[in-house]
């Protein structure tokens, strides 16, 4: 692995090693660009992963202090845990399930498609599906997504069997074991899925794509990557020309260092990326770096989510095998006759007994709750994930008084459902229950959203610099050598799980950065 000098201002500093940052770093390194990759979390290996929900949660999650406000139920049940995401080399790609779906054409221009939705800050993306298609293709190949590139789908597990039968009886057409970044056959030096059932705890076979053991070692092999784990970026610094020139970060022992930079790419996920920009306020950027629009931290989206678990009189044992084992896509269209704009996907999901206790109905007790738990092995489950409406007031802001271990303000995450989100969730609960009723469910449980796993929109992309933070390349409107490289650039959320799009955008961004460097524009 390379080691670059802290004063070497020819390096690109990438902050965060997850889906966005890990991919971007590798792509830049492959093009011969020197990269310092700052990652707040520890560098674990596959051998460290634990097949145990709470232990793995403690090992990999981002548990630094955060606060919440708003009417979302997470603020009541998990006030210090607005998101379920990771602090580790590999970021949330260590935890993720692997569902890898392209956005639909209309989802890049929803302001045009849906019209003016009251209370929503909808905006069309500055790019369309056609712009992203070649990059989606590269991302699918890189990640080994099933049902693309001739890779067969995964075999369905018990949870999928229940979903498939219910869906077919209900008349749904698009039902299969999904497009997953999980090897169904050995590929790219990694083995095939052994149906461990602990995809959320770090895949112990390496069958599931994670930047931890794909992008990052490949980048290291080029000799252009200086990966610094346990190095948390605190502020991004700039010069008189309004260009960024370095990153101040805290090492494991708390000592602070500054790495000089030719360009800085922020990929800390949708809470930490805007927080970093806001914490980097200066005389020249009094409202935070790259925040002349006032949009940094705003338009926070978390997808409309919820789950339906159903109990049956015969066993299911849903926890065996891939966590997300199949999908129904029929509801992902935009059909306003359902009472809401946008669509949603229905994806099987299983959580183990410990997490079921925590998430089935947070705070519940008594026999209604324990009746459900008693039937755990007779349960099937699905997650509902759809497009939520961006709202300016849903925002990541700096807490006025609370500070983290480095003395910086912690982020507060404010969220209220939009009426469209509620109408969609209600429809999704009903349809999810109908799927299970069609195969004889004894009882359906409408499970509220978990702490957010999909966090989007807080540095959104816009054609108009007054309406968003970055342009179509993820380049800050205000600072040309500052980039945002994670899901916070999403203008709107679409119905699909976000990571394939984050990766496609990162590959595209690396290409742009390399070209701009060649043209001496950076």
């Amino acid at each position: 692995m390379a080691k670059f000098d802290n004063n070497d201002d020819s390096v690109v500093v990438v902050i965060g090693s997850g889906a966005g940052g890990g991919t971007l770093a590798n792509e830049l390194c492959q093009k011969g660009i020197k990269v310092v990759l700052l990652e707040a979390g520890k560098h674990h290996t596959i051998a460290d992963f634990i097949n145990d929900e709470w232990n793995a949660f403690g090992q990999l999650s981002w548990l630094d202090k955060r606060t919440t406000s708003g009417t979302w139920r997470v603020a009541k049940d998990f006030p210090g845990l607005p998101a379920w995401i990771c602090k580790a080399v590999g970021g949330s790609t260590t935890h993720w399930a692997g569902a890898s779906l392209r956005f639909q054409e209309h989802e890049f221009r929803v302001r045009t498609e849906y019209g003016d939705v009251e209370g929503a800050s909808l905006l069309d993306w500055p790019i369309g599906l056609a712009d992203l298609e070649p990059w989606y293709a590269k991302a699918e190949d890189k990640m080994g997504v099933t049902r693309t590139n001739g890779i067969p789908g995964l075999p369905g597990n018990n949870n999928f069997k229940v979903m498939w039968n219910g869906a077919k009886r209900l008349g749904y057409k698009e039902v299969h074991t999904g497009r997953m970044a999980i090897n169904s056959r050995p590929r790219d030096g990694r083995g095939a899925c052994q149906q461990l059932g602990f995809c959320f705890q770090g895949c112990k076979t390496g069958a599931k794509w994670s930047t931890l053991y794909t992008e990052i070692p490949k980048a290291e092999a080029t000799g252009n990557l200086d990966l610094r784990p346990e190095s948390q970026a605190l502020t991004v610094t700039h010069n008189d020309q309004r260009l960024v020139d370095g990153v101040v970060y805290a090492a494991a022992d708390g000592s602070q260092h500054r790495q000089a930079a030719r360009a800085v790419c922020v990929a800390g996920n949708s809470f930490e990326s805007p927080r970093l920009l806001l914490n980097s306020a200066s005389a020249k950027f009094p409202d935070g770096l790259a925040n002349s629009s006032g949009q940094v931290g705003r338009n926070y989206m978390r997808h409309m989510t919820g789950s339906v678990y159903a109990t049956f009189d015969k066993p299911v044992n849903m926890y065996r095998g891939t966590t997300m084992a199949g999908i129904i896509s029929d509801e992902s269209v935009n059909d306003p006759s359902r009472g809401f704009v946008g669509g949603y996907e229905m994806e099987t999901l299983s959580i183990g007994l410990p997490f079921m206790a925590a998430f089935l109905d947070p705070g519940a007790y008594g026999s209604l709750f324990t009746d459900a738990m008693d039937r755990y092995d007779h349960m099937a489950g699905m997650w509902l994930v759809g497009e939520d409406m961006p709202q300016e007031s849903n925002a990541v802001t700096l807490h006025p008084t609370e500070k983290d271990q480095h003395g910086l303000p912690v982020p507060n995450v404010h969220f209220d459902d939009h009426p469209n989100d509620i109408a969609m969730r209600s429809h999704a609960y009903r349809q999810g229950s109908a799927v299970y009723d069609a195969v004889g469910a004894i009882r359906n449980y409408e499970v509220p959203p978990y702490p957010s796993t999909h966090n989007l929109g807080t540095n959104r992309m816009s054609a108009d610099p007054t309406r968003g933070v970055v342009n179509q390349w993820g380049q800050a409107h205000d600072v040309k050598n500052l980039f945002v490289s994670d899901g916070s650039v999403f203008t709107t959320g679409a119905a699909e799980n976000p990571t394939l799009t984050i990766v496609a955008l990162a590959i595209r961004q690396a290409d742009y950065i390399a070209n701009e460097m060649n043209r001496q524009m950076l």
Binding site: Q194, L196, K314, G321, A358
Partner: protein, 184 residues
């Protein structure tokens, strides 16, 4: 363990299930197996009455009729550990137990289940939430409890569920091969 710590320990004696089961639990949650199927829970901070009360509270909070007391004792042990480490927790638990016992002229443990629950949801509400917050992890995160619920847990050491029934459900037709291709 120092002698002093030994002396501070108190024992909660209860009659549990089969001795073999108790021995298994002992390995998992640090209980001491006692002769003739009884078992004892060593307590650091709580007294035996508080321990027995909290065990019953845990049963009310998450009632599983077929789950033996010994599993709920894991919750008491977890609370005892917190009380030993934090005097505020110890005081709160003591206050909570007192609130239950002074709600009527009859000691709470001697009351019927219906009375117990009503008091727990009234003057005992704070205690209820404390016990619930602990038990949601300390009861359900116990690998020995998993068996009761049919959750088989970790699978990496067994090579996954690939050959251990990940697709053994047979009360519904199998999906077509396009939707669900065969394993590699």
């Amino acid at each position: 363990m120092t002698l002093e710590a030994m002396n501070r320990r108190r024992f909660l004696h209860l009659t549990g299930g089969a001795a073999a089961g108790a021995a298994m639990i002992a390995a998992g949650v640090g209980l001491t197996a006692a002769p003739r199927g009884a078992w004892a829970l060593s307590l650091e901070s709580l007294d035996a009455h508080q321990g027995a009360t909290l065990l019953k509270v845990a049963r009310h909070v998450f009632p599983h009729d077929t789950l033996d007391d010994v599993y709920y004792a894991g919750v008491v042990q977890s609370l005892d550990g917190k009380a030993a480490a934090d005097a505020d927790v110890a005081a709160a638990l003591a206050d909570g137990v007192k609130a239950l016992d002074t709600a009527t002229s009859v000691p709470w443990l001697d009351l019927s289940d219906g009375y117990q629950l009503r008091i727990l949801e009234g003057p005992g509400e704070t205690l209820l939430h404390t016990v619930k917050g602990d038990a949601v992890v300390s009861l359900y995160n116990n690998p020995l409890v998993w068996r009761h619920f049919g959750y088989e847990g970790p699978s990496a050491q067994h090579g996954g569920y690939m050959n251990r029934g990940f697709d053994d459900l047979n009360w519904l037709p199998d999906p077509d091969e396009q939707a669900s291709p065969p394993s590699a």
